[in-house]
């Protein structure tokens, strides 16, 4: 670096580059060999995530408590997005108990909950790999929380690998809210599209203010 650039070249003066892919993607997600509910072997990153918008949740076939509500809600979400499912949006439910949930068990679980739907894959695999994926995608940096295998069943991870957006939502929220969160990871809209959406939103707000005295919903 010459002397002059020492004082001026605080950043690269190059033209803005195209966003580069996140480095070391495989590292981030793992490329573990998993098995689908149709007993098909798949690579976690290469076959399931690469370049896609995906919804990932954790479950296991014998899970009670919130799990039945979660899958019920996810079916509703799938219905609402069925046009996109399997095309530019994919859903993955990964079992937390791979020792028990083999492909057949997952398939019958999906059948039972009317979740054998296009674009929705149930996954099992080596317990070590599943644990690694759980840790990589759902870790919350708290020892009690992170070592509890059954934790995280109430979270839906939303990732758009192409645009590098990560977000999450609880499937226990209303379908409206879950869809809204999924849309946060949608491929970016053009400025014109965003301006149009903003106009439409303002109309809705104006109506609400008229009726309720303040903005009530989104």
């Amino acid at each position: 670096m010459n002397r002059r650039s020492l004082f001026t070249n605080f950043t690269d003066n190059k033209a803005p580059a195209e966003p580069q892919p996140r480095s070391n993607k495989v590292e981030l997600f793992t490329n573990a060999l998993l098995r689908t509910h149709e007993n098909r072997p798949v690579r976690f990153y290469d076959d399931l995530i690469k370049g896609r918008q995906v919804l990932i949740n954790l479950m296991y076939a014998t899970c009670e408590g919130i799990c039945p509500t979660v899958i019920l809600n996810l079916v509703k979400v799938h219905q609402a997005l069925k046009e996109r499912m399997g095309r530019n949006l994919f859903m993955y439910s990964i079992t937390l108990k791979p020792e028990v949930d083999d492909a057949a068990a997952l398939k019958s679980y999906a059948e039972m909950h009317n979740a054998l739907l296009p674009g929705w894959t149930f996954l099992t695999g080596d317990p070590y790999d599943i644990e690694t994926i759980r840790f990589k995608l759902f870790r919350m940096d708290h020892i009690k929380f992170d070592t509890d295998v059954t934790a995280h069943t109430g979270m839906l991870r939303i990732i758009n690998d192409a645009t590098n957006r990560w977000t999450e939502v609880t499937p226990l929220a209303s379908t409206h809210t879950v869809l809204q969160h999924i849309s946060w990871a949608d491929p970016p809209k053009t400025l014109q599209e965003r301006i149009e959406a903003n106009k439409a939103l303002q109309k809705k707000i104006d109506q609400e203010v008229k009726i309720f005295g303040y903005r009530r919903t989104i």
Binding site: L191, N198, R216
Partner: protein
């Protein structure tokens, strides 16, 4: 050619002389005024665009942040924000055609016509966190981290135009959609940065800050001066992404002056005469935590905070620098300490050269002056995320040449030994920053700190009560059994009323501490209790003596495991949607947040409460209201 060479030489000599001159001028200013208001030349990039998007590191195992020599950098002081005319001019209704984000019309617009306007443009930039580190990719207001400080006065309503010029697509871990909350302004809902009211790149939003005291309806004019707050901060509040965007740098300070705290030290009526020259004797200390990647592509990027690859942080940042030094003169200084998190709690103490603890005088907590200041010399100042402490340190007692240290209990990664011998018992890893006493004061010292600072507002008599339970169920943070849903109302209050709220932390696993933040008005803690043995005697509660900092008005309530805090708060002057949430930004992003609405009429209140009960019933949860409340 010899001639050309000569010319070049002359040019370089000239510029060197100029540089020397500039340096001398700067040094001169420093000798006269003490520390000058400055930001490091290298601290931000003025380029409007062309900041290369980061290539993030996802290395495993995660290496520690690079080594940095302590006390190499001076403490930067965020520059005061410069008021500017806005084009298009601010309007009551959202200026959709002009590019404003959709919102409800400004409340009380005619009453508080903006007298002063600012623009804060969120954009990508780079910032050097230490002179031995390469620049890091950040998001800063007006391209700076920390953002310029807004200096305002009560009675002068302001518009701050938050403009989103962030890259529409980014390889960073941020989401380029923002909604800015002024913590803890008495702000109308449409300007309060509700978590879901975010807007995307290319749009702007005018936040209307009345700069009035709470109690406008009761007291008329600009409200009840006893409700004065002085040390605010603004930050991004986007649902599920708050930690990321704050970690990237979207926050800054906002100070509001009045007669008690006028922004100068002259003897004017009503003035408390505390150290009060911004950037000279009244210094913001904006704390945060970071972790840096190894040098690559001309940068030391921050580690990502999304997903699993987020390692624990290992560098503590003050006003954008790692372990800075601050030159002080022998007089009183005021420090407005703010913890911007996103997660870490700071436990600070002042360490004298002999290793003993020095005295810090606390005058204000969460922007509110205490009735009486208190000295803190035998415990740490515990600053949870989003809390503010205004403290005074008197350096007059120390001879010129003394070095004092601000100690943080948790060690950071330094990587090189201290340049100076440290006080006994103090490791360099535990030093947040250093104060160097460089000379006698030139600006006369302020008089002794008054023993009575303010008169508290009248005691609050509640019209209703409500309980918020902070729990962890099925591996998920919840309040009152539910995770955050911005489209669902979780509680409704009547405009103008007072309520008694109970905050209960029932998490058995982990004993997680939640710094609970309530928007809109300041609350007053009535009591704090703890369950000493929740497993065997779940019904047993023991009162906890309130700390002196809990006796004032508050907007952040630290809630350790098994604690219950009872507080009272009023809801005056505005209507709309507001939030209560855990201000550990990771928790808040994981939905430990609830929405409550202020409504205008009793009929609306009954409607809302009925709706809330119905939604809870749908979720299989009991109603939290009595039958007569919902009719």
């Amino acid at each position: 050619m010899p001639r050309k060479q000569a010319k070049e030489k002359k040019f370089s000599e000239m510029s060197r002389r100029d540089v020397l001159k500039m340096g001398a001028a700067a040094a001169g200013a420093a000798t006269i005024l003490g520390p000058t208001v400055l930001t490091s030349r290298k601290s931000s990039v003025f380029a409007q665009s062309g900041v290369t998007e980061p290539v993030l590191c996802a290395a495993t195992p995660v290496p520690p942040s690079p080594a940095t020599t302590p006390f190499l950098d001076h403490l930067p002081i965020p520059f005061p924000a410069i008021p500017q005319f806005l084009n298009p001019a601010p309007t009551m209704n959202a200026n959709i055609a002009g590019g404003e984000a959709a919102r409800a019309p400004h409340q009380r617009w005619a009453q508080f016509t903006p007298a002063i306007t600012y623009q804060m443009e969120a954009k990508a930039a780079t910032h050097q966190f230490h002179s031995q580190l390469l620049p890091s990719y950040v998001w800063g207001f007006n391209g700076r981290y920390p953002a310029p400080t807004v200096l305002n006065a009560y009675g002068l309503p302001a518009i701050v135009r938050f403009k989103n010029s962030l890259p529409a697509t980014t390889t960073s871990f941020g989401t380029p959609e923002i909604t800015i909350h002024l913590h803890n302004g008495h702000t109308a809902s449409e300007s309060d940065g509700f978590a879901q009211d975010f807007f995307s790149t290319g749009l702007f939003k005018d936040n209307h800050y009345a700069n009035a005291y709470a109690g406008i309806d009761d007291f008329g004019g600009i409200g009840d001066p006893r409700e004065a707050m002085h040390t605010f901060w603004f930050h991004d509040h986007r649902a599920a992404e708050t930690a990321n965007s704050n970690y990237l740098g979207l926050n800054g300070m906002y100070l509001v002056y009045d007669e008690k705290d006028p922004g100068h030290e002259f003897n004017t009526p009503g003035s408390l005469r505390l150290p009060n020259y911004y950037g000279i004797t009244d210094i913001p200390l904006i704390l945060s935590e970071k972790r840096f990647c190894p040098a690559a592509n001309g940068r030391n990027e921050m580690f990502q905070v999304i997903g699993a690859a987020s390692p624990s942080t290992d560098k503590w940042i003050v006003n954008g620098k790692i372990q800075p030094k601050f030159e002080v003169r022998r007089r009183k200084y005021r420090f407005r300490i703010l913890n911007t998190g996103p997660v870490k709690t700071f436990n600070l103490s002042l360490i004298k050269p002999d290793g003993s603890q020095g005295t810090i005088t606390v005058v204000a907590v969460d922007a509110n002056f205490l009735e009486h200041p208190f000295d803190l010399s035998n415990r740490t100042l515990d600053i949870f995320v989003a809390m503010r402490f205004d403290v005074i340190i008197d350096f007059a007692a120390f001879p010129v040449g003394t070095k004092l240290y601000l100690k943080e209990n948790a060690a950071q990664n330094v990587g090189v030994p201290s340049p100076d011998p440290m006080p006994t018992g103090l490791a360099i890893e535990n030093v947040l920053m250093r104060f160097d006493v460089v000379g006698n004061t030139i600006i006369p010292d302020t008089p002794p700190i008054p023993t009575d600072l303010i008169e508290m507002p009248d005691p609050l008599v509640p019209d209703a009560s409500f309980e918020w339970r902070f729990t962890l169920e099925s591996g998920q943070f919840r309040i009152n059994g539910l995770p955050f849903d911005p489209n669902r109302v979780d509680h409704a209050v009547l405009k103008g009323s007072t309520e008694e709220w109970t905050l209960r932390n029932d998490v058995l696993a982990g004993n997680w501490l939640h710094p609970v933040h309530i928007h809109f008005e300041e609350g007053r803690i009535q009591s704090r209790t703890v369950r000493p043995d929740p497993v065997n005697q779940p019904g047993l509660t023991v009162p906890v003596t309130l700390l002196p900092e809990e006796l004032g008005r508050r907007d952040v309530y630290p809630l350790p495991g098994q604690h219950t805090v009872v507080l009272r708060q009023r809801f005056r002057d505005f209507v709309g949607r507001y939030l209560i949430h855990c201000h550990n930004m990771n928790h808040e992003d994981n939905f430990m947040m609830m929405r409550w609405d202020i409504v205008e009429s009793l009929a609306q209140l009954r409607d809302r409460k009925r709706e809330i009960a119905h939604r809870r019933e749908e979720a299989g949860l009991p109603s939290l209201y009595k039958k007569e409340e919902i009719g």
